[in-house]
């Protein structure tokens, strides 16, 4: 496996090998799928839309609906206005969503289609909406596209209000329906009035009933996105992921945000709950405090299996930061923290976190790829690898225990229903990591050393 990867690291200026990121539009599509009765629309060649739907269906094992402007060579010469016009008419005629969320592609961006102008010229049926965002594939990553799509919704829909509606806006970040579900559960348990945006819990984890609903009952409603403009405050989870929409809601509606890390692990979940409590005036419930205690109980009980273990973590920036934080809380030692998303804020936050725990030999890099991670691991090995499916090649090549977390996980089931966030999510992570490490210990143990009790 990966036999062509040399141990010697040479500098690469231009060649990306085995990327740890993908392009903006797929993030935009995912964000739009978290809006109730919304049709994501890809303004570009039809291949983009096909790849993105495929990518999302492979991760969630769910239908990922989206339409395309199906650019031909002619559209590239004359602009995509005519294709968009036809598309929007057909989408409302045939699929009847309440809102179409258009995102651009590298093609329509390079041509320079002015989506503001094109949308103004559309004939939109009464009561229906078309919004857009710009997602040039040659900037940022899928994480950027996710944030941009959220900003697009806010820009078109959120309404500034002189009086606060008292609700707390929660931007969950680029996470799974299982995470969004857990965030809502915690807020509900405290009795907090909130708006979760976007919300794929109920759109990308739907039950099978024999009756397919193109627009399932989940998703943030258009009305809720409007109301975000009158929210008391926004909790923007993911200091990198949710920056763009947080800035947009401030600009458009003068609503303040607090940027928080993904609530993965003890401290980050504490922060999330305390912020939620402070802003809403609602107490953190006994139920949640008990869960916290249970989590710590687990961490103390099992500490010996995590302590000093060296770990490599790859994935989206806020996910890697969250996972690393919990690893540190378990007494593990992050050795590599890599993200493909080009954002140096990641490196800065990683260094601050590592410093707090006195870890000095961890390599934290943004704008990196899995080829580089593999080379690094060949030079200095780790005990555990955490990341998306693509990391499985490295795990196999280096025979290192591997835990799947983040995006995309295309080769396993159930994960998208389960949380990483909150105390319950941390318990799950502790179980996943503990099992990986302990299964390895069992596998490698000589017969005389196989432990019945661990």
């Amino acid at each position: 496996m990966l036999d062509m990867t040399p141990k010697t690291i040479t500098e690469r200026k231009s060649l990306r090998v085995n990327p740890a990121k993908t392009c903006q539009p797929v993030g935009a599509m995912y964000a739009a799928l978290g809006v109730h009765r919304c049709m994501p629309h890809s303004h570009g060649s039809q291949g983009c839309c096909s790849y993105h739907r495929t990518f999302l269906s492979r991760h969630f094992k769910e239908p990922a609906i989206a339409t395309t402007s199906s650019f031909s060579e002619g559209a590239c010469v004359f602009g995509g206005g005519s294709n968009l016009k036809k598309a929007v008419k057909n989408i409302f005629d045939i699929y009847n969503p309440d809102i179409i969320a258009v995102h651009t592609t590298c093609l329509s961006e390079t041509i320079g289609d002015d989506l503001n102008a094109l949308i103004r010229e559309l004939e939109i049926p009464q009561g229906k909406l078309v919004i857009h965002t710009n997602t040039p594939s040659y900037k940022g990553s899928h994480v950027t596209g996710f944030g941009n799509m959220m900003a697009g919704f806010i820009n078109y829909l959120s309404e500034k209000s002189a009086v606060s509606n008292g609700k707390i806006g929660i931007f969950p970040g680029f996470v799974n329906p299982g995470d969004m579900h857990e965030l809502k559960r915690m807020a509900k348990s405290m009795g907090v009035k909130y708006i979760m945006f976007p919300d794929t819990d109920g759109t990308m984890n739907t039950p099978i009933t024999g009756d397919y609903q193109m627009y399932p009952k989940g998703g943030t409603t258009i009305d809720e996105i409007r109301q975000l403009g009158g929210a008391k405050h926004i909790l923007a989870l993911g200091e990198l992921t949710s920056m763009i929409p947080a800035m947009e809601i401030k600009k458009k509606c003068d609503v303040d945000s607090t940027a928080l890390p993904y609530p993965i692990g003890v401290e980050a979940t504490d922060k999330f709950l305390m912020s939620l409590s402070k802003l809403s005036g609602k107490a953190i419930t006994e139920e949640l405090e008990e869960e916290r205690g249970q989590l710590l109980d687990i961490m103390v009980d099992s500490h010996a299996y995590y302590g000093d273990k060296r770990v490599a973590i790859s994935g989206d920036p806020d996910t890697v930061l969250g996972l690393a934080a919990f690893c540190l809380e378990l007494g593990m030692k992050p050795k590599y923290m890599l993200t493909g998303t080009p954002d140096e804020k990641f490196t800065k936050l990683a260094k601050e976190m590592l410093l707090k725990y006195g870890v000095t030999d961890c390599i934290a890099k943004a704008n990196a790829d899995l080829f580089e991670l593999h080379q690094l691991m060949k030079n200095e090995a780790v005990d555990l690898l955490i990341g998306g499916t693509h990391c499985k090649q490295i795990a196999k090549a280096e025979d290192v225990p591997f835990v799947r977390a983040g995006f995309p996980i295309m080769d396993r089931y159930v994960h998208s229903y389960m949380p990483l966030v909150g105390y319950r999510g941390a318990m799950r992570l502790a179980e996943l990591m503990g099992n990986a490490l302990m299964d390895r210990q069992d596998r490698d143990a000589e017969d005389k050393d196989l432990e019945m009790v661990m």
Binding site: L2, D3, M4, T10, R12, K13, S14, L15, R16, V17, P19, T22, C23, H41, G44, S45, Q46, G47, C48, S50, Y51, R53, T54, S57, R58, K61, P63, T67, T68, S70, F71, S72, E73, G74, A75, C76, L84, K86, A87, V88, K89, N90, D93, I94, Y95, T105, C106, L107, T110, I111, P136, S137, Y138, K139, T206, T209, G210, Y212, Q393, M410
Partner: protein, 535 residues
């Protein structure tokens, strides 16, 4: 209202006008019907088609294991084609690039100032790190617009690094589907790779050297075909392009016969190799038990060699013997079921035969990106009018290479084989095997898929991942025929059993019987009048 009218009913004027010619009901087998195909999709319809890049890089070039294929563009396209198609490859020398994804990961400044320097540097780095036999470059959408001259970069790189470097302008917006990309990839391979080793044609009469064209080794299909063919006594020179290699392709001109599995994606090369090297091609089908037998007998008939013919029958008997029990089991389980198939440009035809082996009738079939000849047979090719989108795809012509020209099959023998319905230089298309009220949809979309599911209520529906989960949410089992749901091989005798097993498991998994919660049909609440639970 018949099925076709019911599907079209919801469409407004312009969409109706477009779609009506893409949907054909087949009443009687053998009655020719015309279908509109290989034309632009209607914007806004949720289609399954991909793009030109997907056809070129994803389908044809991607499976070459000894070649570094660099995607020139922003990161997405290269990322999505990384390890997702299941074109398996096994390099005996360990030099396997299939596990890798290479891209120039273009950034905004590259779009503004041009990406040629970056591409050149990327090739340099690839050569220094990986020392590949060949580097291929595939363009994505923005490249054509910003005007990067990738051919010039490739030519410079060839000289500078002493490797073969071939550029493919397969921007996503070209053509109307993946199909344009197949054609572009075919052209590039024909111009630069196939036959480039120039080795002499073996002169001895009795050589049985084959190429398998249009076989991408999904789930190991190509390996299964090679196993059977080698067992009979054939030599497989090159597979295009499943588990293929640049190296093998350079010798492909030494084969005596080209087997064409996927007609849509590779007929161009088959035709050009006939013109240039006088190598006959024959349309084969290794999907399905009876089809595999037919195919093997026809190949033997082509070579007309007694040893080969005898060995063919022995191998068929051996393989049949091995699967006999399971074949009977699944035939019993599946007979009488109905199926729908929406996939690609060849498989919807191939798999109808395999389903028939197990008594399953295909009532709905459609292609994503086929042309009229794939539906109606190659006899319609002279009547196909090229539209602007097709005209923009380069058509290359090749000249006979007198040095490397094969001895022609005797004309009388050729005619005799054709008379026996051997598809020599011919493909009959899908329609001739359909009829009896079945329906065919070209460039099917989400809405039409939902509609035909409701009308025909098939027991199982084969498609791809984009509609698989929608179909299953409707209560219909669905298997992927692009990825074989991560199983396979499905080819030849043993593959047929794997396919039948997967089909049977999908239909019979216990969860289907538990979808309705028991409390929906049997109340759990018992109470008396005035019970506070009912207040």
């Amino acid at each position: 209202m018949d099925a076709r009218e019911a599907v079209l009913d919801k469409y407004s004027g312009r969409v109706f006008k477009n779609r009506k010619d893409h949907i054909v009901e087949l009443d009687e087998a053998g009655v020719p019907k015309e279908i509109a195909s290989n034309s632009r999709s209607v914007p806004g319809l949720m289609i399954n088609r991909g793009c030109c890049y997907a056809g070129c890089k994803g389908v044809v070039l991607g499976p070459l294991r000894d070649t570094v294929v660099i995607t020139h563009g922003p990161i997405g396209c290269g990322y999505y084609t990384w390890g997702t198609r299941r074109n398996k490859a096994d390099a005996p020398d360990g030099r396997n690039f299939i596990q890798y994804s290479f891209s120039t990961d273009m950034q905004e400044t590259d779009i503004v100032f041009g990406g040629m320097k970056k591409l050149h540097q990327a090739i340099k780095e690839a050569v220094e790190i990986f020392q590949p036999k060949a580097v291929m470059i595939c363009s994505t959408c923005p490249i054509g617009l910003i005007g990067d001259d990738i051919n010039a970069v490739a030519a410079t790189a060839e000289k500078e690094f002493g490797i073969t470097c071939i550029a493919y302008s397969c921007e996503g917006y070209k053509g109307v589907s993946q199909s344009a990309g197949h054609h572009i990839a075919n052209n590039g391979l024909m111009k630069r790779v196939i036959g480039s080793a120039k080795d002499e044609i073996p002169k001895e009469k009795k050589t049985f050297r084959l190429n398998i064209l249009g076989e991408y080794n999904i789930g190991g299909d190509g390996w299964e075909q090679e196993r059977i063919l080698k067992k009979i006594g054939y030599e497989v020179v090159a597979v295009l392009t499943g588990d293929g290699s640049y190296e093998a392709l350079t010798h492909a001109h030494t084969a005596n016969l080209n087997l064409v599995q996927c007609h849509r994606s590779i007929n161009y090369i088959a035709e050009m190799m006939k013109t240039k090297y006088n190598i006959d091609w024959i349309k084969v089908n290794f999907i399905g038990i009876d089809e595999t037998i037919r195919t093997l007998r026809e190949i033997a008939d082509y070579f007309d060699d007694e040893t080969i013919k005898k060995r063919t029958e022995e191998v068929i008997a051996e393989e049949l013997e091995e699967i006999a029990e399971e074949r009977e089991f699944y035939r019993n389980k599946l007979t009488g079921k109905t199926a729908g198939i929406f996939v690609g440009g060849s498989r919807s035809h191939h798999y109808q035969h395999l389903l028939m082996d197990f008594g399953v009738k295909t009532v709905i079939a459609g292609y994503e990106f086929a042309h009229r000849d794939d539906y109606e047979g190659r006899e319609v090719i002279p009547d196909i009018k090229l539209d602007a989108d097709s005209k923009n795809i380069e058509q290359i012509t090749v000249e006979p290479d007198q040095q490397l020209f094969h001895v022609a099959l005797d004309k009388a023998r050729f005619d005799e084989l054709r008379k026996k319905n051997v598809e020599l230089e011919y493909y009959k298309g899908m329609f001739k095997d359909m009829g009896d009220g079945t329906i065919t949809i070209d460039d099917f979309n989400h809405y039409e898929t939902e509609k035909v599911l409701e009308i025909f209520k098939p027991d199982i529906f084969y498609s791809g991942i984009k509609d698989k989960y929608m179909i299953m949410k409707k209560g219909v089992p669905s298997n992927q025929l692009h990825s074989y749901d991560y199983s396979g091989p499905y080819a030849c005798f043993k593959g047929s059993i794997t396919f039948a097993r997967n089909t049977y498991l999908s239909i019979s998994t216990p969860a289907w019987n538990m979808m309705t919660p028991p409390w929906r049909t049997k109340s759990t609440l018992e109470g008396t009048l005035g019970d506070e639970n009912y207040a």
